[in-house]
Amino acid sequence: MVRIVIDRDRCTGLGMCEAEAAELFEVQDDGSLAILNDHPSPEQRAEAEAACLACPTEALSLIED
C-alpha cells in the first residue's frame, strides 16, 4: 500500500499534481493543496507517481506503508 506524503513548505500550489491526478489532488482557494485520498488504489498508482514527478518543487512523494 502506498501513501502520498506532502512537504507543505515546498508546495506552491501550482497544481501540476491536480492536472495529473484530479481525483487525488486539489488546490484550494487559499493556494494550499488538499490531498483527496492519500492512499491511492493500485489503479491510481501510475497517476499518483506522475503527479509526484510533475511537482516542480519536489513537494510530493509516495512511501510504502
Binding site: 500550489g13 497544481g15 501540476m16 491536480e18 484530479a22 518543487t57
Partner: protein, 454 residues
C-alpha cells in the same frame, strides 16, 4: 559579487521607480579572458531572422558543443562594461537541469538576456525574478486562481470569449475587400486579453490600453514599435510602466474599499509575513501578469494557425475529431510556437554543469527554441505531429519552481479558440507571419488570414 556600474536610463531615473524594487538586479557577468565560441548567438542579425534560421546554429551546438560561452547581446539597449557574456544552454537536458537547480542558478539577478535599466526590470518582473523563500510566499498568493479546477470553473467564460473573438474576426473578414484580415489584431491578441483581464479585474475599455502598453514595452527590440533611438525606447518603456503602476494603485485602493473576487482584490488583501504588499510590489505583479497573460498565448495562436495552414495533412487529421484530438494538438502547437525563446539565470556560486565549470556571477541563457527541437529528447523534433504523445516540450518551462503559472489557462484558451475557429471557419488559411525582431518573445506582429474560401 560586486554590482556593476549601472548606466541606468539617464534622465529616466526621474521615473518614480528609483529606490524601490527588489534590489537584486545584476548586470555584470563573466570575465574578459574567457574565449567565445565560433558560433555567435548574440548578433542582431541572428535575432532578426526566423526560428528555422536560428535552429541551424542551435543544431550544430547541441550536437558538438552543448554549453558555450557567448558574448553579450550585440544591440544592447544599455551596454554594460563588465558584462562579458553568458553560457548558452541549448539542449533539453541541460535546460531542465538548470531549471531544477534554483539554488545554484538564481532568478533574482534578472531573467532577460538583455541589459535594461534596473528600475525598469524591478518595476516589471515581480516573482519571475525572485528566489525562495520570498518567491514561494508571493507565488502562493496567486496559485489558486490558475489551477485546473479554477480553469474548469471559468471554462464557460473562456469559451464565450473564444466565440466573441471569432465573431469579431468573421465580421472584419466580411467587410474586408478581399476577405483578408490581420489575425493577430482581430483575433489572436484579443482572446488572452479578455480572459486574463476578466480574471485580473481590468474592465473592457481599459484592458485594450494595458495590453497595448505592455506589447509596446516588450517590443524594445523592434524599432517599428518603440522607435530606433535609446531615448524613444526608454520613453516608451517608462510611460508604459508609469501607466500600469498608476492604474494598479487606483484599482487597489478601490478594491480595498469594495472587494470583489478578482486578482486585484487578492493582491490588495494579501499579507505576507504579516505585511501587506506595497504599491510597488502589486504594480510589478500586475505588470508581470499582464505581460505573461497577453504576450505569450497570442503567439501560440498565431504560430499555431500558420502551422495548421502549412501542414494540411496534420490539420485534416485534427479536424476529423476536433474535440478528441485537440488536447495533443494544443501541446504540439505550443511546442512548435515556443512563445518565449530565452530566459536567463545567474550562478549563485562556483558550480559545475555537465563538466563545465561555471563561476559565481556568470549569466546563463536558456534557449527554449533550441531545446524544443532537441532530437535526443523529442523524436522527430523537426516534424509537426499533432498526435505526439508524450510531448516533453518545455514551452511552459523545464519543470521548476517558476513553471508557467498560467499553463492551464493557456491550454484551455488555445483549445477553445481552435475548436471554435476550425468549426466556424473550416477553410481558414494564414499567410506568412511578420515577426518582430527580438530575443525574448517569439512575436508575430501581424499575420494575414482569410477565414472563408469564397
Amino acid at each position: 559579487m560586486t554590482t556593476t556600474n549601472d548606466q541606468g536610463a539617464g534622465s529616466y531615473r526621474a521615473s518614480g521607480f528609483e529606490g524601490q524594487g527588489t534590489g537584486l538586479t545584476q548586470h555584470s557577468s563573466g570575465n574578459p579572458d574567457r574565449p567565445y565560441d565560433e558560433i555567435d548567438l548574440s548578433t542582431e542579425v541572428f535575432w532578426s531572422g526566423t526560428m528555422d534560421e536560428r535552429e541551424e546554429s542551435f543544431a550544430v551546438l547541441r550536437r558538438e558543443r552543448p554549453i558555450t560561452w557567448q558574448p553579450p547581446f550585440e544591440d544592447q539597449l544599455m551596454p554594460v562594461e563588465d558584462d562579458y557574456g553568458y553560457w548558452a544552454i541549448t539542449t533539453h537536458r541541460h535546460l531542465v537541469e538548470v531549471t531544477k537547480r534554483p539554488q545554484d542558478f538564481l532568478s533574482g539577478p534578472g531573467i532577460v538576456m538583455d541589459n535594461l535599466p534596473t528600475e525598469f526590470l524591478e518595476a516589471a518582473q515581480s516573482i519571475i525574478a525572485m528566489d525562495p523563500p520570498r518567491h514561494t510566499k508571493l507565488r502562493r498568493l496567486m496559485s489558486a486562481a490558475f489551477t485546473p479546477k479554477q480553469m474548469r470553473r471559468i471554462e464557460d467564460q473562456i469559451k464565450a470569449n473564444a466565440t466573441k473573438v471569432v465573431d469579431h474576426l468573421i465580421e472584419k473578414a466580411k467587410t474586408a475587400p478581399d476577405g483578408w484580415v490581420d489575425f493577430v489584431a482581430e483575433c489572436g491578441a484579443l482572446l488572452p486579453m479578455h480572459n486574463f483581464n476578466d480574471m485580473m479585474g481590468v474592465p473592457d475599455g481599459v484592458r485594450q490600453k494595458t495590453s497595448h502598453e505592455m506589447s509596446v514595452m516588450m517590443s524594445w527590440g523592434d524599432d517599428e514599435i518603440t522607435g530606433s533611438t535609446r531615448e524613444e525606447k526608454f520613453t516608451a518603456i517608462f510611460n508604459a510602466l508609469t501607466f500600469m503602476h498608476q492604474l494598479s494603485k487606483e484599482t487597489v485602493d478601490e478594491r480595498r474599499a469594495n472587494p470583489t473576487g478578482d486578482l486585484f482584490t487578492a493582491l490588495a488583501q494579501a499579507e505576507v509575513d504579516g505585511e501587506k504588499l506595497t504599491d510597488h510590489e502589486i504594480g510589478s505583479f500586475f505588470v508581470l501578469l499582464t505581460v505573461a497573460g497577453n504576450d505569450t498565448t497570442r503567439q501560440s495562436l498565431a504560430h499555431g494557425l500558420r502551422a495548421l495552414t502549412t501542414h494540411p495533412e496534420q490539420r485534416a487529421w485534427l479536424t476529423e475529431d476536433l474535440e478528441g484530438r485537440m488536447q495533443t494538438s494544443v501541446e504540439e502547437l505550443v511546442r512548435w510556437a515556443t512563445p518565449i525563446m530565452t530566459f536567463r539565470r545567474t550562478a549563485a556560486r562556483d558550480c559545475e554543469l555537465d563538466g563545465i565549470q561555471i563561476a559565481e556571477g556568470d549569466k546563463l541563457v536558456l534557449f527554449y527554441s533550441s531545446a524544443n527541437r532537441d532530437e535526443t529528447a523529442i523524436e522527430h523534433a523537426h516534424e509537426l505531429d499533432l498526435s505526439r504523445q508524450p510531448n516533453p516540450h518545455i514551452s511552459f518551462g523545464g519543470g521548476g519552481i517558476h513553471h508557467c503559472l498560467g499553463n492551464q489557462l493557456a491550454r484551455f484558451q488555445i483549445r477553445a479558440l481552435f475548436i471554435e475557429l476550425l468549426t466556424r471557419c473550416p477553410d481558414i488559411v494564414a499567410g506568412e507571419p511578420e515577426l518582430s525582431p527580438g530575443n525574448f518573445f517569439h512575436v508575430v506582429k501581424r499575420m494575414p488570414c482569410k477565414p472563408f474560401a469564397n
